[in-house]
Symmetry: C2
Subunit: 345 residues, 2 copies
C-alpha cells in the first residue's frame, strides 16, 4: 500500500501539499495538483482511514449496533442506513452483540475504539448499564436510539409508535369480533418495546375486555418463542384464544408455523397478527397482518440526525416518532387474498 509519502516523493512535493489536494483544505497550484493526481493514480494511493482517524479523531464512519444478525428487521435497516450514509460520504460499521447480555458495553467500546463518528443503537433489551454508558458517550458524539426508551434524559431517538401500533392491531382484532385475544410480549426484564404491551392492554380495556394473564406469553424475539407461544395458547391455556397478537413479526411467524402444523387455518380457526412488517410476512401463507414500521424512513431520519449533529454538535437532541401503518392481510381477514400482491420492480 502506497502512503502519502510515496505520493509526495513521486510528485516531487511535500506531504502537506498532497494532503491539501486530498482534502481541499487549501488552494494548490493547478499544475502541482495535476502532478499529484497523476502520482495518486499510478501508485493507486488511497489514504489510510486509520491514520486519518488517528489525527482527526474522525473516521467518516457511523457505527450501528444491533442485537442479532439473523433478524430480517435489521437487514433492511442495514441496507437503508448504508444507502443513506453513503450519500453523505460516510461508511457504516455494523456490530452485533449476539445478545450476549454480560457485556453489551464492550461492543460499544469496540465501536468507539474504531473512532466511529456516531452510533445508532438498536436493542432488544436496553439495560441500565448500556443506557448509562451511551448517555455518557452522547456527550462526545451523536448517539441515536432506534427504539423507544422511556428515558428521562434528553436523547436522540427514532421510532414508531409501538403503543398505538399494537393498540391498533389489537383493536383490529376486536373489530373482527375477537374477545379472547392473546398477546406475545417481549421479555419482561427488558424495557424495550414495553409500550407495545401497554398498547395491547389499553386496547383491551377500552373495549371492556378482560386482560387475561393466561393469554400473555413472554417471548424472546425469536421465531421459536412465537412457536412456543402458540403451542402454549392452543394446548395449555384454559381459555383458548381466537386471535393472537404478537409484539414482533418474527414471533408471529413462529406462531403461524405452529398453527399450520396443527392443521388449523387462519383466520378461520385463529387469527394472527404481528408488528414490524418484515418482508417475509407478506410471503407467508397466509400473509400476515402487521403494523408496518417505515424502516427506510427510520433509517434515513436517523442518519439525518447523525449528520446534522456532526455539523452542529450543539444541536438539540431530537425524538422523532414516525407513523406506522396497519397492513391487513389474510391472517386476520378472510376477504384478503391467500397470496399477497407484491409490487415487483
Amino acid at each position: 500500500m502506497a502512503t502519502i509519502k510515496d505520493v509526495a516523493k513521486q510528485a516531487g512535493v511535500s506531504v502537506t501539499t498532497v494532503s491539501r489536494v486530498l482534502n481541499g483544505t487549501a488552494p494548490v497550484n493547478i499544475k502541482t495538483k495535476e502532478k499529484i493526481m497523476q502520482a495518486i493514480d499510478t501508485l493507486q494511493y488511497s489514504p489510510s482511514i486509520m491514520a486519518q482517524g488517528m489525527r482527526t479523531k474522525k473516521s467518516k464512519t457511523l457505527g450501528v449496533l444491533v442485537p442479532d444478525y439473523m433478524n430480517p428487521f435489521y437487514h433492511e435497516l442495514f441496507k437503508y442506513i448504508e444507502d443513506a450514509v453513503r450519500q453523505e460520504g460516510y461508511h457504516m460499521l455494523t456490530i452485533s452483540t449476539q445478545e450476549e447480555v454480560e457485556d453489551e458495553n464492550s461492543y460499544i467500546t469496540d465501536l468507539v475504539n474504531r473512532n466511529v463518528d456516531g452510533i445508532i443503537v438498536c436493542s432488544y433489551k436496553g439495560e441500565k448499564e448500556t443506557i448509562t454508558y451511551l448517555l455518557q458517550l452522547a456527550k462526545t458524539m451523536p448517539v441515536i436510539f432506534l427504539d423507544h426508551f422511556d428515558i428521562k434524559q434528553s436523547i436522540n431517538a427514532v421510532f414508531t409508535d409501538g403503543y398505538n401500533g399494537i393498540k391498533e392491531v389489537t383493536k383490529h382484532m376486536i373489530d373482527k369480533g375477537h374477545k379472547n385475544i392473546a398477546f406475545i410480549r417481549p421479555p419482561v426484564r427488558y424495557q424495550v418495546a414495553n409500550d407495545r404491551y401497554e398498547g395491547y392492554k389499553d386496547a383491551m380495556q377500552v373495549a371492556r375486555l378482560p386482560v387475561n394473564e393466561e393469554l400473555i406469553y413472554e417471548g424472546n424475539y425469536h421465531i421459536e418463542s412465537g412457536y412456543a407461544a402458540a403451542k402454549y395458547f392452543l394446548t395449555q391455556a384454559k381459555v383458548k384464544p381466537t386471535a393472537i397478537v404478537s409484539a414482533t413479526d418474527l414471533m408471529a411467524i413462529g406462531a403461524v408455523n405452529f398453527i399450520k402444523s396443527q392443521g388449523l387455518s387462519m383466520p378461520e380457526d385463529i387469527a394472527v397478527a404481528g408488528y414490524d412488517d418484515i418482508y417475509i410476512s407478506k410471503l407467508m401463507t397466509p400473509p400476515i397482518t402487521t403494523y408496518r414500521q417505515p424502516i427506510a424512513q427510520m433509517a434515513q431520519t436517523a442518519v439525518q440526525i447523525f449528520i446534522h449533529k456532526i455539523n452542529h454538535p450543539t444541536a438539540n437532541n431530537r425524538q422523532v416518532m414516525l407513523a406506522g401503518h396497519l397492513m391487513v392481510r389474510r391472517s386476520t381477514d378472510r376477504d384478503k387474498p391467500q397470496v399477497e400482491k407484491i409490487v415487483y420492480k
Copy 2:
C-alpha cells in the same frame, strides 16, 4: 476516552510498561502490574484500535464483503463468521457493495484502509477487475473466496459443490417423472455460480432430456426475478414446464409466489426447487425443496483458513469444497408435510 498515557501517569509508570501488561510482550513485576490494572479499571481504559493498527498494521479484524445486505444467505453467514471470529479474538467488519457494479474494488480498498487482517469475499458476479485486485491483495493478507470461481491461480476458497448440487436437484425432478424442467439461472455475464447451470444441463443430458433454451430464464439473484421467471415460464413459454429448478432459494421463493398467485398448487401442478436452504425456505407454504449449503461449516472453515494463514503466512492456499445435502420438501414431493417440522430450541 482515556489513553495509554493517562494510565501510565495514573499508575506512575511509563507507557511502555503499560503496553507490556496489555500485550504480555515482556514480564512485568506483579506489583506494578496490579497498579496498572487498577488504573486501567478506574479510567475505563481500552486501547484505540486505530492507534494499534497504525503501528502494527494489524487490527484483529476480518473484513467480509457481500453483494447485498438483504439476502438471508449472508445474514446466516454473518452470524456464523462473527461467532467463529470472536472465538479467536477477532472482530468482523462487513461491507456491502450493494451491487454497484462500477466499482467493487473501492469497497475492498475501504476494507484495506481500515487495516483488516484478511478478507472473506462473497460475490454475485466475480468480475475480472475485482479478481485481479484480490489476487494482488492476497500477497499481502489472507483472502478467502466464499464462492466457486474457476480461477487458474492459487486461491483460498470455500464452497459447496454447485455443479453436483444442482445436478442432484435436477435429477430429483427427473426421478419424480418430470421432463420439461425449467431452470432459473444466474446472470450470464457473471461467472459465479455458473457451475450450477452446468449441473442442470448435465443432469438433463444424462437423462437424455433436451435442454430447451426456452426453459432457461436468466435471473438476478433477487426474489423479483424468480417471480418474473415463473411468470415467463407459465404464461409465455411455448412448452410449459412441470418443474422449475432455481439456482438460488431466493429466486425459487419468487417463483413460488407467482405460482401461488395463479392458484396453482405445488407440487401437483408444478414442482419447484431451489439451492441454498436459507431459513425462509422451510417456512414457506409449501416448504421448498432445496440443496442445503452448510453455511455454519462454510463460515467456520473460512475463518479457520484465515486464522491459519495469519499464523503461517507462507501456508499453501486451500480450496475446500463442502458437501451439501438435498432437502426434499413438499414443493416437489406430495408425500412431505405441508408444514415442515422445525427443530425448535
